[in-house]
């Protein structure tokens, strides 16, 4: 159980937690920073001031109620579908790899990839806007045709850790994959 602080590609601080359950089973959790209260208040005040200004000119109360409903709906959608709290990678040798993202409202979405479909876990680099970023990804193969890579699944898409964090996860995963080959 080791929890370390890293930064993501935008400079926000994230934390990586490695848990070793057994020789061949490890779990990595990357936690993103929580929703900032100051940002929420700034957005809400902005929307409501704007709505009040519109109400001042149009004298229509529907503007105010619609602004309230919009703010509430927007916040609910944001915490349920957009804001990711932590992402987990669970690797079990000779069984498979499980990726799960947990959102701020508690919702979890999980994918499990079996070992016979998994070719390798690698660190890839990509050109994004004006910078080059590194990301960890899983190469998927078809069991009938083991040499070709059919698709690539990128990991930690919402937290985007930097290279030093990725290298740690990569080394750990490769130890386990080497055992099961």
């Amino acid at each position: 159980m080791a929890e370390e602080e890293f930064t993501d590609i935008n400079g926000n601080s994230i934390s990586l937690d490695c848990q070793t359950h057994s020789d061949f089973c490890r779990e990595f959790t990357v936690t993103s920073p929580k929703l900032s209260l100051r940002k929420v208040m700034v957005y809400t005040c902005f929307v409501w001031l704007f709505a009040y200004a519109v109400f001042f000119f149009t004298e229509n109360t529907a503007v105010l109620s619609s602004a309230i409903i919009l703010t509430l709906a927007g916040m609910m959608i944001h915490i349920h579908f957009v804001k990711v709290d932590h992402e987990t990678l669970l690797i079990i040798g000779s069984l498979g790899v499980q990726l799960s993202s947990s959102y701020a409202s508690g919702r979890e979405s999980t994918i499990f990839i079996e070992m016979n479909k998994l070719k390798d876990i690698v660190i890839n680099e990509a050109v994004y806007m004006h910078s080059i970023i590194y990301y960890l990804c899983i190469l998927i193969k078809d069991p009938a045709d083991p040499e070709t890579v059919t698709s690539v699944v990128p990991l930690f898409q919402s937290s985007n850790p930097r290279l030093n964090c990725l290298v740690q996860v990569y080394r750990s995963c490769q130890e386990i994959l080497a055992q099961s080959r």
Partner: protein
């Protein structure tokens, strides 16, 4: 290699006994299906297993022994070790659990008596995966593959596990509470109570279905009357979407029956008909003046305007005449809307089509006039340039002004040229008026076509909606599985790794994609470019037609 043992949750608290299950070929794993308790006769166990093997096509074997000793049952360990000689296996599993502890201990003995792995701290290569037997048995792993399509070795491990549990249903018929030679523990021993109402409904459903089938056959007999297959009736019924839908409905009734009531608004109908006619009248009067500031040819304007106004006048009087009967007809037609929401929508579409029939007529008149005008203009324009349309060769040929009769080209006399020019000028200057009328009525017609198209699309959508699959996804999400989820159970040191396997249900969008029933989908006949060309030239546009006889 890591040995994976899939262990059902219901057997966590079972008494000591033999483990029955299957070794998954090609992967180093085993699925435990049930526990047979003491006392048993080994010969009977073997006989029972071979019977089940032939019944289920699953190679069930004795995997090993399970011991959960209660007080006063010491000395079981040596007894359990001796069992491995009675049931000779390549690998013999010995799982044991002590009361009060959460972790199991596991030992694997190989055929030559050698201990494969002994549980030591940090040296275990055994994973115990707990699964919910009832849910895995009922679940269907997506994407669905046909049985026997791929050989066992190529299929993935999880798919084989799901298949094994699903195919071993006959094994779960015998329970430890039955009076038989063998006492088994599996998910049935959890003691799920059944509801008597559900059982009664299941029994009653058979006679109800028989009755409904009889009603359906009656309907088929009615529809197969000869008189309904005569040419004019057939033509009208193929144009009215209500008749088309009732045909589909009779086919669909065989599988599903959904009684729904539709509300009729008779007053609304009458008012809206009158309203449409009034609006059209105002529109025509606007056209007859100076619409949008354009100056129209007064004479032609008046002619066309008066003609259309008279048409509307006829229509309004027709409606006034028919209004006492319309109520009755609408009531009975609306009653037939209980045959489903799609039926009601089709009725709406047909009623709208019938009510706006005069708009359709106006569109046809305007389009024909415009088409004739454009045709005349293009032909006379060709005359100017000295070209002629060759009907035989279906192309444009040149004409000369030679008066020589011996040339192969047809000659043009100056008189023809003079009359052609005159007509061309007349048609050209009357073009804006006709074009404006055409434009207005075409727009109205397009609005109607769009409305009907939207109704047909929604009817399609409702027809193809997989209600049962969506209901399953909401109420019993474990039946449709996209994959599995693993959770690590906190364990005690010295025990192998324990994982909890749960079913990851299919996403709602994948449910819709996978289970959409193939429909008689409707689609526009022309692409956008062809549509624009037709509009420009003045050809008639027909509403979206439905494809017939799409095979299920």
């Amino acid at each position: 290699m890591v040995l994976k043992i899939f262990f059902p949750q219901c057997c966590n608290t079972a008494d000591s006994g033999l483990l029955v299950g299957r070794w998954i070929p090609g992967h180093n794993s085993a699925v435990v299906l049930a526990v047979i308790h003491y006392p048993f006769i080994p010969g009977q166990v073997k006989k029972y297993l071979s019977e089940l093997q032939s019944q289920t096509q699953v190679d069930l074997t004795v995997l090993g022994s399970w011991s959960m000793p209660k007080e006063g049952q010491e000395g079981m360990d040596s007894f359990l070790k001796d069992l491995s000689t009675i049931f000779p296996q390549e690998c013999w599993l010995q799982l044991s659990r002590e009361i009060g502890k959460r972790g199991f201990t596991c030992q694997v003995v190989q055929n030559n008596g050698r201990l494969l792995q002994e549980q030591k701290n940090g040296d275990d290569k055994i994973v115990l995966i707990h699964y919910d037997q009832r849910k895995v048995m009922l679940s269907q792993l997506h994407p669905v593959q046909d049985v026997g399509q791929k050989s066992d070795v190529e299929a993935s491990e999880l798919r084989l596990v799901f298949q094994t549990v699903a195919q071993s249903q006959p094994l779960f018929l015998l329970d430890k509470y039955d009076d038989g030679p063998l006492k088994l523990s599996h998910w049935q021993s959890e003691g799920r109570e059944a509801s008597i109402i559900a059982e009664l409904l299941k029994q009653a459903s058979v006679p109800v279905c028989i009755f409904l089938t009889w009603l359906l056959s009656l309907w088929h007999w009615l529809c197969s009357f000869r008189i309904l297959h005569l040419r004019p009736v057939l033509f009208i019924s193929s144009k009215l979407s209500t008749c088309v839908q009732s045909g589909y409905r009779a086919v669909h009734f065989k599988t599903v029956f959904s009684p729904k009531k539709a509300a009729t608004h008779m007053e609304f109908m009458r008012y809206s008909t009158w309203r449409v006619a009034k609006e059209l009248q105002e529109l025509l009067e606007w056209l007859m003046g100076a619409p949008a500031g354009l100056k129209m040819n007064r004479a032609l304007d008046q002619v066309l305007g008066r003609f259309f106004l008279y048409h509307i006048h006829l229509w309004i009087s027709y409606i006034h005449l028919m209004s006492p009967f319309i109520e009755r007809i609408l009531w009975y037609v609306g009653l037939s809307g209980c045959l489903g929401l799609t039926f009601a929508l089709s009725i709406l579409s047909d009623i709208v089509a019938l009510l706006t029939f005069h708009i359709y007529c106006f569109y046809v008149y305007g389009a024909r006039l415009y088409c004739l005008k454009i045709y005349g203009l293009s032909s006379l324009w060709r005359l100017f340039r000295g070209k002629k349309w060759n009907v035989l060769r279906q192309r444009v040929d040149s004409c000369s002004y030679d008066l020589d009769q011996n040339t192969s080209d047809t000659a043009l006399f100056p008189l023809q040229l003079f009359i052609g020019t005159l007509l061309f000028t007349i048609l050209l200057f009357l073009l804006p008026t006709t074009a404006l009328y055409y434009l207005v009525f075409t727009l109205l017609r397009l609005v109607m076509v769009l409305f009907q198209g939207v109704i047909h699309l929604s009817v399609d959508f409702i027809n193809s909606l997989p209600l049962f699959a969506i209901g399953l996804r909401i109420c019993r999400p474990y039946r449709l599985a996209e994959g599995v989820k693993f959770k690590v159970l906190c364990q005690e040191p010295g025990t192998p790794l324990h994982l909890m396997m749960e079913i990851n249900p299919l996403k709602c969008s994948s449910v819709l994609q996978c289970y959409r029933t193939p429909t008689y989908s409707c689609y526009p006949k022309d692409s956008w470019a062809a549509l624009c060309k037709k509009l420009f030239v003045g050809e008639l546009i027909y509403p979206w037609k439905q494809k017939t006889a799409k095979t299920d």
